[in-house]
């Protein structure tokens, strides 16, 4: 049986009880308990339509996730799941030291000083410069982040703002995240307040502790492929308790006003997702050859001399995340190395990052050095993904990762000349080893639309008003 057929069989079993794994379950001691152990409902919670999410346009995300395995362009390497990620950092770059030399593909462009750490994965990158976030730049940092990742301006002021719609990671997760144990994984190196939202006022907080992240994904409930074993009966009990919780949510919803009903619906989505996750844990684990339980991180990474251990924490989290992807625990992630406005003290740096972007005179050598450190962490992660073999290629080949920040140059809070790197080709859907430079402040939303389409999200457009576009960026599309 081919890999793709095994995949189809594994997941179609969810539709047709009794599932194969049912035979391994303990015999239900009572008819009532049998219900607790029944196969899960699939996708009961998946919203077929994200209304208003993309600038008011109704976006259908109803394509079955299987499209991305066995679609019309299927070939050997696309039998592996396609992954999507946002990898972001705060406070932009030094544009003149960020911009690659030369344009076009292959030998016609070379990495810049700030991109130099990515040398070993250059062939798997698309670098885009010169494009702009087309929202009014009212709220420093947050307008840029909102405009880039939601296609809509952030609303409010610097003390109190929110997004108007979901960030791209959750739009993609609605498309391809339904089949895995985690629909998406959110990680923040130093703060849980990452730029990842399922909607207005609905932040998806990031996990900040490497060990907790490891325990969450690779803890007691994780089983390696072929590990077999008896399914923990507590999974069923927990699902039963969640059943009761869901009934409470429904009952409470009926008493509320419209806005509160929406808030509780988001909560209910979370309960359903957890219930489904527990159900998947009762199934056989996905079997991907490269999947192994990663080495556990340290239990804690205490600050040293008042400074966060940025590199040690980032590497530990990247290792767990890489294996979470390799083991198909999730297909979508948002990794935030530092938040917009982050004032992290980087090693060797005389002041916090955000302070330096404003206080250090040009050309800001300290800010430059920090940017190099950030891209060095990105390089570690991308090289790790590229070391995981999948078929004829690597995991990185089967991913598309949007690497970005909320500003071009943070000193002036510019949202032009945005730093954009797309890593991976999404299984051959995107062009790699290319530098595209725009000389007309083109709408960066084009890149986002190209990514959405590469992920199988069927949408006629992205953004609204000045951010609106019906065209992707052809330079990165196959």
């Amino acid at each position: 049986m081919s890999t793709s057929n095994r995949w189809i069989e594994r997941f179609s079993s969810l539709f047709a009880p009794p599932a194969r794994g049912a035979l391994r379950r303990p015999v239900a001691p009572s008819p009532a308990l049998g219900r607790m152990l029944a196969p899960p409902p699939l996708s009961a919670s998946r919203r077929g339509v994200l209304r208003g999410a993309l600038g008011g346009a109704a976006v259908t995300v109803g394509l079955p996730w299987l499209e991305l395995f066995v679609g019309p362009t299927a070939r050997a390497e696309t039998t592996f799941p396609v992954r999507f990620g946002v990898w972001n950092w705060g406070n932009g770059v030094r544009p003149e030291q960020w911009r690659p030399v030369g344009e076009g593909s292959g030998l016609s462009w070379t990495l810049s000083e700030e991109l130099a750490p990515l040398i070993n994965v250059k062939e798997k990158l698309a670098v885009v410069t010169g494009m702009a976030v087309k929202v009014p730049n009212y709220i420093p940092h947050w307008s840029g982040a909102g405009g880039l990742l939601t296609g809509l301006d952030a609303l409010g002021d610097d003390e109190d703002w929110t997004v108007q719609g979901p960030t791209i990671d959750h739009i993609v997760a609605d498309q391809i995240g339904g089949a895995t144990i985690y629909k998406s994984i959110e990680i923040g190196l130093d703060t849980n307040e990452i730029f990842s939202f399922t909607g207005p006022n609905a932040r998806a907080p990031g996990e900040t502790d490497p060990f907790t992240l490891y325990e969450r994904i690779f803890g007691a409930t994780f089983r390696e492929p072929g590990e077999g074993g008896i399914v923990d009966p507590r999974l069923g009990y927990r699902r039963s308790a969640l059943d009761a919780v869901m009934q409470d949510v429904h009952a409470l919803q009926r008493e509320l006003g419209a806005a509160d009903r929406v808030r509780l619906e988001a909560h209910l989505d979370g309960v359903r997702a957890l219930e489904q996750r527990l159900a998947r844990l009762q199934e056989d684990p996905p079997d991907l050859e490269a999947c192994t339980r990663p080495v556990a991180p340290e239990v804690s990474y205490p600050d040293i001399d008042g400074r966060v251990q940025i590199s040690a924490r980032a590497q530990a989290m990247h290792e767990v995340l890489a294996m979470a992807l390799a083991c198909d625990q999730t297909r979508v992630f948002n990794f935030m190395l530092s938040r917009p406005v982050a004032n992290l003290m980087f090693p060797g740096s005389p002041d916090g990052h955000h302070n330096l972007t404003h206080d250090e005179p040009s050309p800001q050598p300290e800010v430059h050095e920090i940017t190099v450190q950030i891209i060095t962490e990105l390089a570690y992660f991308l090289e790790r993904l590229d070391s995981i073999p999948e078929g004829d290629g690597t995991l990185l080949d089967h991913a598309a990762i949007l690497c970005c920040s909320e500003h071009g140059e943070a000193r002036t809070h510019a949202i032009t000349d945005m730093p954009i790197v797309v890593a991976g080709s999404a299984g051959g859907r995107l062009v790699n080893d290319v530098h595209y430079r725009s000389y007309t402040d083109e709408n960066v939303g084009k890149v986002v639309l190209s990514l959405l389409r590469a992920m199988g999200v069927s949408t006629p457009s992205w953004g609204d008003g000045d951010t609106f576009t019906e065209d992707g960026l052809s330079a990165i599309e196959v």
Binding site: D260, V271, G306, P361
Partner: protein
């Protein structure tokens, strides 16, 4: 009453001065949000007796149509307090929970708009199971929980009795037979499968704690119309979360279930009973933790190479100092709240004593000390909490400190810095050794100055304190000039500024507003702004007794009613 009504009707009588009338106009939405104009007051000015010389008898509370009710998610601290109040014995409560959300400066306001993320649901489940397993494993907690002896692993009658009582407490309301039956069935089924009543009970307790009836506060009132009374049991929750930052105790819940809490005298009696209880200290601490953002202090990032006194625990110590000071002022003294700004009394541990240059009163923990005037340090704004929080990792910040004074102490709005502006500050050199010179751009460029003139002259008054609050007379060898003026009232240094702020007519109304927002979990509407003005009259009339302000707020129509469900 509409938001454009003149101030005179908002406060029930004519405003006695033109200055105040102007301020009132600004209050009620006519203010300009751009800088360059007088700062916009977001709370009515103090209407106390200073200007007329005579206290004015307060009229009846203005009629208000409160804002629409919103479901409030328990904050992390409420979640933890509730669990500790619910179960006996030592309890480890996981702290890795859905993060709180700061909206308009308060987590309590954010709690009315946020939801729970998918990861948050996971964390609540894990926390509920952790707590439930502990409770069933601890002899003391288990004995307190189990009011009956199960006849077998699937004794649903006993399960119903136990979980009915627990759910009533956790959900802060009477529980229906159907709700209890569902929980009991869950326990009985798992109990039977596992051959253990306790094993089933773990999941029953966990279900109670994961329920939205526990995690959210429904304070929606009853009936129809624009002004609807909060129900008696909902009012009990409002009251105990405001004063205790936790769930009602048995007495309050029982009074509420009888409907008696709708009676003003009973409500006042309960409010005073709660305030006299030790839990009220916990509640007050949380209120000030939120208003001053003290929760950001533990783990605050300060460079020890720049600040020799900075150690990893300094932030936590600074937070405790401020909270102890507030506690003492409100509960031990019941003094004039404004004295928080000028008090020469401080509560320090050895770490803070070293920072301040005083002798610690005790080798362990915190002790009360007196700060002599020559130290130049007194009151809230002489505390390390303010001075550290409103600074950078390696330096002080006149702008951040000024913004705090305007926004948090005076409730004035300061717009965010515009985008696309070069904000770099020159490095110190011979011509600009101190921050005052380096910030000249802020004040000489008209574009920057329009806002920075509101913040920097205040913030520069604190320049004798570095980025962690250590006293200094010079910066880069040059003497620091900490003089300035606050809206026309001159001060020579932070010590004097404390007096100016103490006497500011904006201080009382601002804290009245903080308490109101904290209590109702919302930003006030125009009607409620008038109510806040009225509450402030009462605050002033009691000599700024914070306890009386809390009671007055509880008894006010804004706290006991909600607007139309939307």
């Amino acid at each position: 009453m509409s938001a454009s009504a003149p101030l005179r009707s908002a406060l029930g009588r004519p405003a006695p001065s033109a200055r105040r009338a102007l301020r009132g106009a600004l209050v009620l939405g006519l203010g300009l949000s751009a800088c360059g104009d007088p700062p916009k007051d977001a709370a009515p000015a103090d209407d106390g007796e200073e200007e007329t010389g005579e206290p004015v008898e307060r009229g009846p509370a203005p009629e208000v149509t409160p804002g629409a009710p919103a479901l409030r998610r328990l904050t992390q601290s409420q979640y933890e307090n509730a669990l500790r109040d619910m179960f006996a014995g030592e309890l480890y409560v996981p702290t890795n929970l859905e993060p709180d959300n700061d909206v308009e400066g308060l987590l309590s306001v954010g709690a009315s708009t946020t939801s729970v993320s998918a990861y948050g649901v996971e964390l609540y489940e894990a926390a509920a199971l952790t707590v439930a397993e502990q409770v069933l494993a601890s002899p003391e907690a288990k004995a307190a929980l189990l009011s009956c002896t199960p006849t077998g692993p699937d004794d649903s009658t006993c399960a119903a009795e136990v979980l009915g009582a627990l759910a009533r407490r956790a959900w802060r309301r009477p529980v229906s037979a159907a709700e209890v039956g569902r929980l009991a069935e869950l326990v009985a089924q798992i109990g039977a499968a596992e051959g253990s009543f306790d094993a089933g009970m773990v999941y029953g307790v966990a279900a109670v704690l994961q329920s939205p009836h526990f995690l959210y506060r429904r304070e929606h009132g009853e009936g129809t119309g624009a002004v609807r009374p909060v129900t008696s049991v909902e009012l009990a929750s409002r009251l105990s979360f405001l004063l205790w930052n936790s769930i009602p105790d048995e007495e309050l819940l029982a009074v509420a279930e009888s409907g008696a809490l709708l009676d003003e005298a009973v409500l006042e009696e309960q409010a005073r009973r709660l305030l006299a209880h030790d839990n009220a200290r916990r509640g007050l601490r949380n209120l000030f933790d939120e208003v001053f953002h003290l929760y950001n202090l533990p783990g605050i990032n300060k460079d020890p190479l720049v600040f020799l006194n900075a150690d990893p625990e300094l932030g936590a110590s600074a937070r405790e100092e401020t909270l102890l000071g507030v506690e003492a002022m409100v509960f031990d003294d019941d003094g004039d709240f404004r004295d928080l700004l000028t008090t020469e009394r401080a509560f320090v541990d050895r770490r803070l004593a070293a920072l301040y240059g005083v002798a610690a009163a005790t080798p362990e923990g915190f002790g009360e000390v007196y700060l002599p005037a020559e130290l130049g340090r007194r009151g809230l704004l002489g505390q390390a909490s303010f001075l550290m929080l409103q600074s950078h990792a390696t330096s002080s910040s006149a702008t951040k400190r000024g913004v705090f004074v305007r926004r948090t102490l005076l409730c004035q709005e300061i717009p965010a810095p515009p985008a696309d502006v070069d904000t770099s500050i020159p490095e110190a050199d011979a011509t600009s050794p101190t921050l005052r010179e380096r910030l000249q751009t802020h004040l000489s460029d008209p574009y920057c100055a329009s806002c920075h003139q509101l913040t920097d002259p205040i913030g520069l008054g604190f320049e004798n304190f570095d980025g962690i609050g250590k006293w200094r007379l010079t910066e880069n060898g040059a003497t620091i000039d900490a003089s300035g003026d606050l809206d026309g009232v001159a001060f020579a240094n932070a010590w004097q500024m404390a007096e100016v702020l103490h006497d500011s007519p904006l201080l009382g109304p601002c804290f009245t507003r903080h308490v109101y927002r904290y209590g109702v979990g919302r930003v006030e509407n125009g009607d409620e702004l008038a109510l806040i003005g009225w509450l402030n009259e009462g605050f002033a009339g009691t000599g700024y007794s914070f306890r009386e302000l809390l009671v007055d707020t509880v008894l006010s129509p804004g706290f006991r009613n909600v607007g139309e469900l939307q």
